[in-house]
């Protein structure tokens, strides 16, 4: 019998509250920016900082309001953004253009609340340009983008750690200047520890899917993702993941799963698109094929041991390690934060083909995959599109491997019948392989 996650309601409520606070807060500061930003520096300004992050908000809007999402994307394109641009960007900007915003509790608010600051990051070629455009359209919001130069063990390169840390420290000065607030290093250090703890706990939760049956499926992983992506700096986000980690450990010990019929284990590379296309996930579910590991849900805001002796490891980091980190000075706290964020699998893979291939091989091996599903997003240039073609070459001799194009939120860009046929073929390939090996 399928297991029902007890922590789910609290996690959903946390997500709703973060967004509601951004929409309706009458006090405090509003901060906008990428999920891929280090968030703790904002929290040194106080405990009343309300966040809205680009990708998770766009993703959840697409899931909650498909029709609104379509209108948002069209509005952005009418406003001049190209068809090939990032569709998260277009959805997000489209809301600003239409001056209305929808959130996960199904509220639609007319009048998009202006952020006080934009605090964001830059990795792909348009990531920070997204917020430049939003800032321009809102009349010029003060904006600070951090260059998270990454790729392949970047967190072990002192030159890169120094560079990113220096930018953050300059950014903290800027935050003080632009908000006129005093900065609390005590709040900052606390937020850093929380941020690191959440990232490490999420890595531990995901790594439990190495077990058979995998306790979680992709759909639940996405649903449980919000504390890591909407605001991972709070005591509450840590509490939620500690609770979830205990619960999932218990599931493993008792052999339970949210999707117990697991005849085929799939490793997935791509931005989660299946919530936009239940037709796709149904094909898999009907034959007991589950995505048990996904670099996007695991690695966008999660940490693992990463590159050890030149090879990728999906082994989790001991959460107790976080409790003893020395965060006694601003610099120490910043460097620890930088090292953990630079170690995100997504950072590593986007700009490093060898790290990407190494993490894919380890994921296939460690999660005992029966098949590899590659679904590059047509409008995301960092969605490992750089590695998909070579990954087909590497893995097709090992396990059934298919690739079809998807898009994270723009349903127009998906060849649904073609992708369905490929998925059916994928299922047949996995069946045949299993029978051959039996």
């Amino acid at each position: 019998m399928a297991y029902t996650i007890k922590s789910m309601a609290d996690i959903k409520s946390y997500q709703n509250n973060v967004y509601r606070n951004y929409l309706f807060a009458t006090e405090g500061l509003r901060a906008m920016g990428s999920t891929w930003s280090v968030l703790a520096p904002l929290k040194g300004l106080g405990e009343d900082i309300h966040l809205i992050g680009g990708e998770p908000h766009a993703a959840s809007t697409a899931g909650t309001f498909p029709d609104e999402a379509r209108e948002d994307i069209i509005a952005a394109e009418t406003g001049g953004l190209g068809f090939h641009s990032c569709s998260y960007l277009k959805l997000f900007t489209g809301e600003v253009i239409r001056d209305k915003i929808g959130i996960t509790d199904r509220t639609i608010k007319e009048g998009y609340p202006k952020p006080d600051v934009i605090w964001t990051t830059h990795l792909c070629s348009q990531h920070s340009k997204w917020y430049q455009e939003v800032s321009r359209r809102m009349g010029g919001i003060p904006m600070y983008a951090i260059d998270m130069i990454g790729g392949g063990a970047a967190e072990k390169d002192p030159k890169i750690v120094d560079y990113v840390s220096d930018q953050i420290e300059a950014g903290i000065q800027w935050l003080q200047q632009v908000t006129g607030r005093q900065y609390s290093d005590e709040f900052y250090a606390k937020a850093v520890r929380n941020e690191i703890k959440v990232l490490v706990l999420w890595g531990n939760i995901c790594a439990l899917n190495m077990h058979a049956p995998a306790p979680l499926d992709e759909r639940r992983l996405i649903a449980l993702f919000p504390p890591a992506v909407v605001d991972r700096t709070t005591d509450e986000s840590v509490r939620l993941y500690e609770m979830l980690y205990d619960e999932v450990k218990q599931m493993v010990e008792t052999g339970q799963s949210v999707a117990p019929d697991q005849r085929y284990r799939i490793v997935y590379f791509g931005i989660a698109h299946t919530y936009g296309h239940p037709e796709m996930s149904r094909i898999l579910r009907d034959v007991g094929a589950e995505i048990v590991a996904s670099v996007y849900t695991f690695g966008t805001c999660g940490n693992f041991k990463g590159i050890v002796d030149g090879k990728w490891s999906w082994e989790p980091i001991d959460p107790a390690w976080v409790d003893v980190l020395d965060l006694s000075t601003r610099r120490k706290a910043t460097e620890e934060l930088v090292k953990i964020v630079l170690a995100w699998p997504t950072w590593q893979g986007v700009r490093s083909w060898w790290a990407l291939e190494s993490m894919a091989q380890a994921m296939v091996d460690d999660f005992k995959a029966d098949g590899l599903l590659l679904a590059p997003s047509r409008s995301c240039e960092t969605d490992f599109r750089n590695g998909y073609v070579s990954m087909q070459r590497i893995f097709k001799g090992q396990i059934p491997t298919i690739e079809y194009d998807s898009d994270q939120v723009d349903v127009r860009k998906m060849d649904l019948p073609g992708a369905q046929r490929k998925t059916e073929l994928f299922v047949e390939l996995m069946k045949a392989r299993k029978e051959r090996r039996a």
């Binding site: 001049g80 090939h84 934009i118 920070s128 904006m143 600070y144 260059d147 220096d166 300059a170 073609v389």
Partner: protein
């Protein structure tokens, strides 16, 4: 080596021949005993390569319709990156001693990966970590460290110690090229310039393949001749091009071959003025820091342009300055299909041009130039301007 007394046509044809066969030119350098390094992005500090005894040769596209790269790079990466990857996959540059790039846009980064991963360059390649936002204060010290590692790599490759004096000489050679190219483009500010925009673009493109000392000798001769040369005829509508990499000279020729008289008077792109419109400070004690400061002062590539604190796009200041100096009647935005950063700049740049009263149009590039469609669009664009500018 250029002979004295060449006429302008001969000099320009010499440059053109380099653009038409860059591999042949690069091989000829190697036959003279020089080491040759291919580079994929103009953020590569050529000065360090040159100081180490390598001649940097830019890898650009060949505009041949090809399908083979689709087995290596996703189809939604720009055709320029596909075409540059194709240069490696088709083994046209197997003779290179090194392929190098700096952290670039995602698409060109992937073109480099293809060279390294599938074109046999894994053992002779170098990726220079380079900031994605170049305007930050910490960027300079990061670049200095990156350049230090790159310098060590070159020293190991060439088994030659690179001295400060070597770098200083190299900086001076490159700055001289930059000044000469700038002088060449300045001719186009004139109402009746002695050289056409397409020819200036061709010379600039050739400079990206050439040994800079040879290039400088030819440029000096060309400029000297042009200073005394008459205008090439009354120009028509003055058009400026702004956008991404474009090494297909066909589009620039087309601008000057329309049914209406039009002249290309400026090109803001990394294959034209963005390549050289800056200088590296000379005679500084810290050579690598000087190079870092020089490259930071460049007109930013749209993929790296975001001033911390304001989110300003610094490139726009340059574009406005060029409009003031070169006085175009219209701007053609020219960018690669699937390029993300360029079109995102255009959304914000167009209202600025509107305020300045400069009309604009967009052309999206692919592997080959769709001449008929572009001709129609450009002529229609000129017709929209006829109330302000008489059409010849």
């Amino acid at each position: 080596m250029a002979k004295k007394g060449l006429d302008t046509t001969t000099i320009i044809e010499r440059f053109r021949s380099v653009t038409e066969n860059p591999q042949g030119y690069a091989k000829s350098l190697q036959e003279k005993g020089k080491l040759v390094a291919g580079y994929l992005c103009t953020h590569v500090p050529e000065e360090i390569l040159y100081a180490g005894g390598l001649v940097p040769v830019r890898i650009l596209s060949s505009h041949e319709s090809q399908a083979m790269t689709r087995s290596y790079i996703h189809e939604t990466y720009c055709s320029f990156s596909h075409d540059c990857a194709y240069q490696g996959l088709s083994h046209k540059y197997d003779f290179l001693n090194l392929i190098v790039t700096s952290s670039s846009c995602i698409h060109m980064g992937e073109a480099f990966n293809v060279w390294v991963r599938f074109a046999g360059f894994e053992g002779k390649s170098f990726l220079i970590p380079f900031p994605h936002i170049i305007e930050t204060k910490p960027a300079a010290s990061f670049m200095e460290k990156s350049y230090g590692e790159f310098k060590q790599f070159i020293e190991k490759l060439t088994k030659k110690h690179i001295t400060d004096d070597d770098i200083e000489k190299s900086i001076k050679v490159y700055n001289h090229t930059r000044r000469l190219l700038k002088q060449l483009w300045e001719f186009l500010r004139r109402e009746n310039p002695p050289i056409t925009g397409p020819d200036v673009s061709t010379v600039t493109l050739a400079s990206q393949f050439m040994d800079k000392q040879e290039c400088n000798e030819l440029l000096e001769q060309l400029i000297k001749k042009l200073e005394a040369a008459p205008g090439k005829g009354k120009p028509g509508v003055r058009l400026m091009v702004s956008g991404g990499a474009c090494d297909d000279m066909g589009i620039f020729n087309l601008i000057e071959e329309l049914d209406y008289s039009a002249s290309l008077i400026f090109v803001d792109s990394c294959t034209a003025t963005r390549y050289f419109w800056f200088e590296v400070p000379e005679s500084r004690p810290d050579k690598l820091m000087a190079i870092a400061e020089g490259y930071i002062s460049r007109i930013p590539c749209p993929s790296k342009d975001n001033v911390p604190g304001t989110g300003e796009k610094k490139r726009f200041r340059f574009v406005q300055q060029f409009i003031e100096d070169f006085k175009p009647d219209g701007v053609v935005f020219l960018y690669q299909r699937f390029c993300s950063p360029q079109p995102m700049d255009i959304v914000a740049l167009r209202p600025i041009l509107d305020k300045l009263g400069v009309p604009s149009t967009d052309l999206e590039l692919d592997t080959t130039v769709p001449v008929t469609q572009f001709r129609t669009q450009l002529e229609a664009f000129l017709e929209t301007m006829k109330e302000e500018v008489p059409l010849g």
